[in-house]
Symmetry: C2
Subunit: 201 residues, 2 copies
DNA sequence: CCGCAAGTATACCGATCGCTTTACTTTGCT
DNA sequence: AGCAAAGTAAAGCGATCGGTATACTTGCGG
């Protein structure tokens, strides 16, 4: 016996898809607990990944934050997937605008929009994250304006921008108040605005 | 010469009003950079206060956070002083509601509402901060509803809650977008809602 | 005028931060 | 079968975190 002397190793952890598990852990922990309070150790524990492997996939925590934001942005199962209703071709423009507000409440559990939250935490540090969130919200506003135009709104620019404020307000106030009620208020007001802008010529 | 051997001490720092200086530093740093990224060292440096003195005034950083939030809430020079227009007796109810949105833009430089931002950072940790922000936003909503009633709104509950969402939305979107534009949109929409709810019987 | 509260500097505590390193093992592909 | 890619464990890096301790000095009120 003692073929190789070093019998120590028993490396059974998560297995092959390390990067994916890391990103999933990031979505779970960053969105729920925040970015600053989530350390690398908690991340690697959750992802079932060694520290080494982590840094082979992401050069730094900040790089993971950027990847996390992009994932959140595009993940069809992620916490902001509700925004994708604006792209659905089986719905009329008016219905898409309404659906954005109808769908957002159940999705957003309690903690508002993860992208906005990241922008709050990013502040001075993490300029890449700040820029990414800024871009996302700009694009969302543009999509809202376009959809408002499709819906035949009299002033699509105004309606789109107002709906953007409203959407962000529902998310943010639900965080501050620890309640989902603001979504109802936003939904009601959105419906009114849309009707008013597209209604009786 | 050598009267007392110990010639070391040259303790000239900020002087007597330590607590006040600490709170001022907290308002400046927490609001601008965030809570988690602001360490005790930066705080004491800015406040011109020794570590010891700091902990004689506040038992922990979390205690300072609570004191900071209360200060922000009530400070007539602070970043949320704009909300106090709702209390002004020299203005009519309608004017007060409009003034809230008119005044908020210049006050809020770029970083939204410090209370909401604190709620985002507080998340799981800092339950006291979470509760304080929740209370503040509830009270703000109540004041909005009362003022809406005074202004003769047909459904003051609805109008007040919608204005609360709008106000939070302007603050939050200005953070996400790094721009003051959302305040304009919120102001326009608020004016419309108020006119509509109080206007032509 | 003097005592004492309020302030000062500074070194240090254990813990955790983000990150690196060394040495090793498993897995999938050809 | 064999080899590179991808994974593992674990020790440890310097820095910083929130917080404590020791020892000293000042300014104001009775």
């Amino acid at each position: 016996m003692a073929t190789t002397e070093t019998t120590a190793g028993t490396p059974r952890r998560g297995g092959r898809g390390a990067r994916e598990r890391i990103l999933r852990a990031a979505v779970e922990l960053f969105a729920r607990d925040g970015i600053h309070v989530t350390g690398i150790a908690k991340l690697t524990d959750t992802a079932q990944v060694s520290t080494r492997t982590f840094y082979q996939h992401f050069p730094s925590k900040e790089a993971l934050v950027s990847a996390y934001l992009q994932r959140v942005e595009s993940d069809p199962e992620g916490p902001v997937h509700g925004e994708s209703v604006l792209e659905r071709s089986d719905l009329g423009a008016r219905e898409r605008l309404l659906a954005l507000f109808a769908d957002s409440a159940p999705t957003q559990v309690v903690r508002g929009c993860p992208l906005h939250n990241a922008a709050v935490e990013a502040a001075g540090t993490m300029p890449e994250a700040t820029a990414l969130v800024e871009r996302h919200k700009k694009e969302l506003t543009e999509r809202l304006i376009k959809t408002a135009a499709e819906a035949g709104a009299r002033e699509p620019e105004t309606l789109g921008r107002r709906l953007a404020v409203l959407f962000e307000g529902a998310n943010a106030l639900s965080t501050s108040l620890n309640s989902a009620l603001p979504y109802q208020d936003a939904r009601g007001l959105a419906a009114m605005l849309i009707d008013q802008a597209t209604g009786a010529s």
